[in-house]
């Protein structure tokens, strides 16, 4: 499958990936509205670890044997067997944080949802669950510190 890889050599901690992700996952698709006004708040699913001499963008690795899927008590977190994309169904998620306790990369967060807190994670900007789209973070990165390429595994 195609995966996003972050290259810390080029990352300048600008967080444009976070902005692009949040805007893509907003209703308005407008940065000002997405950041200041929309409720519930749109959430970025990529997170830049920085504020030191290094920085790197972290998002879901779409693991072949995904621990978040293995741990999910509600059947919300699934890995599409054809595409390999791991997504969480907001309708089914109860926000128990088992995925948070299982993800080795810190790539899942629990944030306020429409009715209760639920899991948010990278969905590869697909139009529907389990189907990859064109990742906004990769398009927004000014330095090619994020690449979306065919990986060696499924």
């Amino acid at each position: 499958m195609k995966r996003i890889y972050a290259l810390e050599e080029w990352c300048i901690d600008c967080k444009r990936c976070e902005v692009a992700c949040k805007v893509f996952h907003s209703k308005s698709k407008d940065p000002v509205k997405a950041f200041l006004y929309e409720q519930p708040k749109p959430r970025n699913r990529v997170r830049v670890e920085g504020n030191r001499t290094l920085s790197i963008a972290i998002n879901c690795r779409h693991c072949p044997t995904a621990k978040c899927v293995e741990g999910c008590i509600s059947g919300a977190m699934t890995r599409n067997p054809e595409t390999g994309v791991v997504t969480s169904n907001p309708e089914k998620c109860v926000g128990c944080r088992t995925c948070v306790s299982m993800c080795p990369f810190g790539a899942v967060t629990i944030e306020e949802g429409p009715t209760h807190p639920i899991a948010f994670k990278c969905d590869l900007c697909g139009d529907e669950l389990g189907v990859p789209g064109s990742p906004s973070c990769v398009a927004a990165c000014p330095n090619r510190a994020l690449i979306y390429v065919e990986s060696e595994g499924n």
Binding site: R3, Y5, A6, L7, E9, W10, E49, G50, R52, L54, S55, I56, I58, R61, C63, K67, E70, G71, I73, S74, G75, E91, K92, V94, G95, C96, R97, T98, C99, V100, S101, M102, C103, P104, F105, G106, V108, T109, I110, T115, H116, R144, A145, I147, V149, E150, S151, E152, G153
Partner: protein, 451 residues
């Protein structure tokens, strides 16, 4: 005429379904039959408290869409008639409660846990005492709570539910029922709540936070007797000799492996069914997965069941692959407990060894900061356990550090003082972790050879 199947799966939850999925990855042809005494399609068993809270619905709790079973040709026989009452491993036969027999090729025992009923006088005879393990239990408790609230309102008094046992199940039941009755009181024989997953200090912090949200926990106190009037529990006589009136009781003292079927058939049992690394029991062509399996604890080497959802899923995958004769069958060696639980807006993640023996081989650091309580337990330069109360961010990174036995001295010491980061790992390990399946024709700058 007997029902025949290549694979018989006894139990229709995490372990059974995970095994069925694994069987289908190797064997697309063999017939798979799932039997369970519960009349429902597989649901997220831990969801029952969330259902009562309205965080999920009876439309959403099912683990798989109905078409999944058809697409994967998984036959199901669900309901009391289909409970397996006797296993005859030598004959490869299972007898069902309804009188039918199933002839199978290979069998998986995945029937989970059954509630342990404590020997408290009066408890077993009262009709308004509910366990809290299944959907039916939860719906019955919900109905009792509604009736209690209505009756108490008429009588002009507060309605009260007593939960016996402040483990994960008891406290989740308490949280759920809090929305229905005026008072929820949780009794716990041990000196602290969540005795298996918290230490005393963390339990005290959580107990205060639960009290602010309407749940009264009484650690060190349990019921010595249940007062029963006309078949109904009306009060608990506490070990302090006080009488605590109640409208109904949830009994959540603990669970034990639902392994009687296998034990009666001659299977070797320790604290759970003894299995090899492929999760084969001592019976011929009988595997086991989930709560009823005895697991070797990866941290202290002790052997006991780990009745946890992710463990059941992982074991189901191993057992299913082995049953189907997968070429590269994975093996199951050991595990450690990882628990994630939330109460209202409180979050709690715990893993591994929480209360180390005081033999000098372990060290622990703890920190209280406002509402949060954090503990890390170390041994021989390795992280072996944690408590993260109200500091959940990126907790899985700590789980990975335990699982992969990453020496603590390789990590940035700051990793334990705030949310852990991938940048806290040394460069080579960080690259390896974050760049699995990285394209072979690109260098670490992302460039292709010669470009």
């Amino acid at each position: 005429m007997a029902i025949t199947t290549d694979y018989l799966i006894i139990g229709n939850s995490a372990a059974g379904l995970s095994a069925a999925e694994a069987i289908r990855k190797t064997d697309c042809e063999g017939s798979v039959l799932i039997v369970s005494r519960e009349p429902y399609s597989a649901y997220g068993r831990p969801l029952i408290s969330y259902l009562l809270e309205g965080k999920t619905t009876l439309d959403e709790i099912w683990l798989k869409p109905e078409e999944y079973y058809e697409e994967n040709r998984l036959q199901r026989m669900l309901g009391p008639d289909f409970e397996v009452v006797q296993l005859l491993p030598e004959e490869h036969r299972a007898l069902l409660a309804g009188g039918e027999a199933v002839e199978y090729g290979r069998c998986l025992l995945a029937a989970g846990s059954v509630p342990f009923v404590p020997p408290i006088e009066g408890l077993a005879e009262a009709s308004n005492v509910f366990p809290f393990l299944t959907l039916d239990h939860a719906l019955a408790a919900q109905e009792a709570a509604r009736e209690a609230a209505a009756l108490a309102a008429v009588e002009g008094r507060p309605s009260r539910c007593v939960v016996i046992g402040a483990g994960l199940i008891g406290l989740k039941a308490a949280e759920a029922l809090c929305g229905y009755v005026d008072e929820v009181v949780v009794l716990e024989m041990a000196p602290r709540i969540l005795p298996a997953v918290l230490d005393q200090e963390g339990a005290d912090v959580l107990r205060q936070q639960l009290a602010q949200r309407g749940i009264t926990c009484l650690p060190g106190i349990t019921a010595q007797k249940v007062v029963v009037e006309e078949g109904c529990a009306t009060a608990c006589l506490l070990t302090t000799d006080e009488l605590l009136p109640c409208d109904f009781i949830v009994a959540a003292v603990g669970v034990r492996p639902n392994s009687a079927l296998a034990v009666d058939a001659g299977a070797v049992q320790g604290r759970g069914l003894v299995c090899d690394s492929q999760l084969r029991t001592s019976l011929p062509d009988v595997w086991a997965a989930g709560d009823l399996v005895q697991v070797t604890d990866a941290i202290d080497g002790s052997k006991r069941p780990l009745a946890l959802w992710p463990v059941a899923m992982a074991q189901g995958a191993v057992a299913g692959a082995s049953m189907a004769g997968a070429a590269e069958a994975p093996s199951y060696e050991s595990a450690f407990a990882v628990n994630a639980v939330d109460f209202f807006d409180i979050s709690l993640l715990t893993a591994g060894c929480i209360n180390p023996p005081e033999d000098g081989s372990f060290t622990a650091v703890t920190e209280v900061d406002g509402d949060s309580y954090v503990k890390f337990v170390f041994r021989d330069g390795l992280l072996v356990g944690y408590i993260l109360l109200n500091r959940p961010a990126c907790g899985g990174i700590y789980t990975a550090i335990i699982e992969n036995a990453i020496p603590v001295d390789q990590l940035d010491p700051a990793i334990f003082s705030a949310a852990p980061e991938n940048l806290d790992f040394p460069p080579a390990l960080r690259w390896a972790r974050l760049h699995k399946f990285y394209p072979a024709d690109r260098d670490r700058r992302g460039w292709k050879e010669g470009c």
